[in-house]
Assembly symmetry: C2
Homo-oligomer: 132 residues x 2
């Protein structure tokens, strides 16, 4: 297991389309798979439906953890990245429109909200083949 | 997006080797990829290292969320399962020995602890192709 730099971790995150967002729901841990885009500034953008418990109940922002990986279960090699940061709604109309174009939801549910996660902590690892 | 039954969700979970555990770390959401086995009783078993913040600080048990999925990014079909339940250390020596055999860690770190997650809430979905 080899640690990678913050820049490399965010680059790896941008090479895949989906990850999982972990957040707190009524004081308990919750996790959802979502698709994402990574902006040039390293910001992670996802979409949620208006009834989502992520940023629900009028929360303006909240800390979330975001994870993506690509691990081959046969060779057991690949990488994993975990980002911890503050999630908040994107509200500027131009940004909302742009991200709605870039980020087509995988499920046929209403996904009206665009959420931006600004990375604070970024931890990335490569799993390399064990020396035999 | 089609909901599946609890039994089907746990069966799907058992068809893959890895998932992500979400838990609370110093009041913030945390998430880690891990490999797992699903027991006959639907219990999810993972291994952690002794310094893990999951069940750290002498916690006897804590609520976690566990997610696994298999989603094809091209066809955008597959499934996702999220389990919420109580995690606790497995301490019975026979069980520890058995799970250590069944569950070989993917990283060359010490993974001395065996942790059992007893599912309370199980939510599973299949993503089916959109009608064209």
């Amino acid at each position: 297991m080899v640690e990678v730099s913050r820049d490399e971790a965010l680059r790896l995150l941008g090479t895949v389309e989906m990850g999982r967002v972990a957040f707190t729901e009524q004081a308990l841990p919750a996790i959802r798979p979502v698709n994402h885009v990574v902006g040039d500034d390293g910001t992670i953008v996802i979409r949620t439906h208006t009834g989502s418990t992520l940023l629900g109940h009028s929360l303006a922002s909240e800390v979330v953890a975001y994870e993506a990986d690509r691990i081959d279960p046969v060779t057991r090699t690949g990488w994993s990245v975990v980002v911890t940061g503050v999630a908040s709604r994107v509200t500027a109309p131009d940004d909302v429109a742009r991200y709605r174009r870039l980020l087509v939801p995988w499920v046929n549910a209403e996904m009206a909200h665009v959420v931006r996660i600004v990375p604070e902590l970024v931890a990335g690892y490569r799993l390399e083949a064990a020396p035999s």
